[in-house]
């Protein structure tokens, strides 16, 4: 990283961002800051306003109110000095038509004055070496996403924006992408990504902003968000191990319900309750589920999370 950013320690400073489309307030008074070297996630269901925020931060869209600085420079209006230092992958896969993966990446490299050797190295790095001569239109969802990420990174930017980098790809490809993103972060790059997958935010991000209907509801490390929820642990006891009344009577149980003869026990003292269940020989088929970001979302909005 350049010493300048390392010193300042702040990659993004967004204050009071607001965007209105007609009657719809797409983004409402959003402020956050991202430290350099962080993986910062913006999490929310479709239509929450993630893309709109990202585009205002990148300098693609003029905010109706508020402002944003990237690496110490204002991102709006278009700033020629700043652009080579940031990399972007837009939600839709923005490519030239009918070019192969290699041609695509070399073309983007040229836009930044980067030579073909470095472009080809990035193609290998994202695991597309074998697909170099395949047209973009023929690549799978995961391959397209990796190519888009390579196009965002080919000029070695220090700050990278990724809009739903794992949308519409299969679970295995998603996990491979997580590894790639972690390795980019390990090199010292700051990553900002949007996602509508709770598990992705939880697994990947240092800090997550949970969004709904244009506003940030909470912003913290995923573990801190869950802890702050003070949500009970739920223990699922397989059928015929204990009765509903027995379960409800256990010391430390807040609530027990019968869900199709599986007894679901809620508790804030899970170790004591589990010990008691073990003593009664009720461990067979037992499952424990701790609170997740899903519960945080439910708690914040009163709605089930639906991507």
């Amino acid at each position: 990283m350049t010493s300048e950013t390392a010193q300042s320690g702040v990659a993004i400073e967004a204050t009071g961002l607001r965007k209105v489309y007609g009657d719809l307030v797409a983004v409402d008074d959003v402020s956050f800051s991202v430290g350099s070297g962080e993986i910062f996630g913006i999490l929310g269901p479709n239509g929450a306003g993630k893309t709109t925020i990202l585009e205002m931060v990148e300098g693609l869209r003029r905010p109706d109110a508020g402002s944003c600085t990237l690496l110490g420079e204002a991102s709006w209006p278009r700033n020629q000095r700043l652009l080579p230092r940031i990399g972007v992958q837009l939600q839709a896969s923005a490519f030239f038509e009918r070019l192969t993966a290699r041609e695509q990446l070399r073309t983007f490299a040229s836009l930044y004055g980067v030579g073909p050797a470095q472009a080809d190295a990035w193609l290998e790095r994202v695991g597309l070496g074998e697909k170099a001569d395949t047209r973009t239109e023929k690549l799978s969802g995961g391959q397209v996403q990796r190519l888009a990420i390579a196009c965002a990174l080919v000029h070695e930017p220090e700050l990278v924006f990724l809009d739903e980098p794992t949308a519409a790809i299969d679970p295995q490809a998603r996990r491979n992408l997580w590894d790639l993103l972690r390795s980019l972060n390990a090199e010292g790059r700051t990553l900002v990504l949007t996602t509508h997958y709770l598990d992705e935010a939880e697994a990947l991000c240092d800090r997550v902003a949970i969004m709904d209907r244009g506003s940030i509801l909470q912003l913290d490390a995923p573990a801190a968000l869950v802890r702050g929820l003070d949500a009970p642990v739920r223990i699922f006891v397989a059928p015929h191990q204990v009765t509903l009344d027995e379960a409800a009577a256990i010391e430390g149980v807040d609530e027990a319900v019968d869900d199709e003869s599986t007894i679901v026990v809620s508790t804030r003292r899970p170790s004591e309750v589990l010990a008691e269940l073990a003593a009664r020989g009720a461990l067979e088929g037992l499952q424990v589920r701790a609170a997740t970001l899903e519960d945080v979302f439910l708690d914040l909005t009163g709605r089930e999370y639906r991507a």
Partner: protein, 363 residues
């Protein structure tokens, strides 16, 4: 992190984008077909259609004595036989029936001093040749009868001239239409396609200035137009005997201006439409009727005067006129001034309007 510029030689952004667009164009069979092949099909069709083959003689059935034909002097008789294949018949009704059924092209007979020719309009070219040639022979005979020196002209030569004129006429007009189509479609599809795919947004976030991107697109479109021109003129010359007149190369700058003009029309369509197909359809909707009204397919001479005047508001009319003048009518530089000014004015106006109507987002 090391500096990007350190490794390998990078293409300039202008060339990189130009090459990307060229590859995208030539790999798209539909756009190659509509830009290069489709207009050529028209050239072949029109060039072939009007290229009347003078070796096919006109069959004539002569009923009774026709002194004009029978008494032709030897030299004139030879000329007559090159155009007409004469058989004699006594049965007037049967001869007429032959003509009606198309077995013979014309029946001639003499009624007093008048030469009467019966023919159908089924084959208009042959009908015209028959009428023209016979009239010429009659005129010639009249001149001879008046005691003046005869001034026969060799009529079948005139027929060949007319067919040449067809290729002379259709080449500039069809070329104008072809350029209008490929330039406007290219601009409309690029603007819409890049907007839909968000490539335009992506390029906006690269350090490359907008003028570089626009410049690359213009360069490629102009190059495609010049390729179209080379193919048109090559085919016209080698296959249909196209003859270019002295200042023909002035059609090159005119063509470049025409390309810019129709790119701006495509930009307008691309700015207004909501989808790529919509943009291309809109460009087509504007260009095709304009081509008809601007004389790309048929000469406007036969059209009513008001229509000819209305067509003066169309940029393609001026492009066609300018190209016709310098390519085949032997006109000089003065003939391209007005078309050039009109095309430039359209380009400026339509680009300004497109810029005003343009929206970054598809929705």
């Amino acid at each position: 992190m090391n500096t990007p510029r350190a490794r390998g030689r990078a293409r300039s952004p202008f060339w990189a984008i130009s090459v990307a667009i060229v590859k995208g164009f030539f790999r798209d069979k539909a756009s190659v077909f509509f830009a290069l092949i489709f207009p050529l099909m028209f050239l072949v069709l029109f060039g072939g259609l009007f290229n009347f083959d003078s070796s096919a003689k006109i069959t004539v059935v002569q009923v009774g004595e026709v002194s004009l034909v029978d008494d032709l002097p030897a030299g004139a008789r030879e000329a007559f036989d090159e155009t007409f294949d004469v058989t004699r018949s006594r049965d007037r009704a049967a001869a007429l029936e032959d003509v009606r059924k198309g077995d013979a092209d014309v029946m001639i007979e003499q009624d007093g001093d008048a030469l009467v020719a019966h023919y159908t309009q089924a084959d208009q070219v042959k009908a015209a040749v028959t009428q023209g040639t016979l009239r010429a022979f009659v005129d010639g005979a009249n001149v001879a009868a008046s005691g003046q020196p005869p001034t026969y002209s060799f009529e079948s030569e005139r027929v060949e001239d007319e067919s040449l004129e067809a290729i002379q006429f259709v080449t500039p007009g069809l070329l104008g239409w072809a350029i209008a189509m490929s330039a406007s479609f290219g601009a409309a599809a690029t603007l819409q396609g890049w907007r839909q795919s968000k490539l335009m947004r992506r390029l906006q976030l690269s350090p490359v200035p907008a003028r570089t991107i626009v410049g690359a697109r213009v360069l490629v479109t102009v190059l495609i137009a010049l390729v179209q021109m080379a193919i048109f003129l090559g085919l016209g010359f080698f296959a249909f005997g196209l003859q270019l007149t002295g200042w023909w190369w002035l059609s090159v700058p005119l063509l470049v201006l025409g390309t810019l003009c129709f790119m701006s029309l495509g930009l307008l369509a691309g700015a207004v439409a909501k989808t790529t197909e919509g943009a291309v359809n809109m460009a087509n909707f504007l260009v095709l009727p304009m081509a008809f009204l601007s004389g790309s397919f048929f000469a406007l001479d036969a059209a009513p005067a008001w229509l000819q005047n209305v067509s003066l508001v169309l940029p393609l009319r001026h492009l066609n006129d300018g190209m016709l003048d310098v390519m085949v009518r032997g006109a000089g530089p003065e003939a391209v001034v007005q078309p050039a000014v009109v095309l430039l004015a359209f380009t400026v106006a339509m680009t300004a309007l497109a810029a005003k109507l343009f929206r970054w987002d598809a929705d």
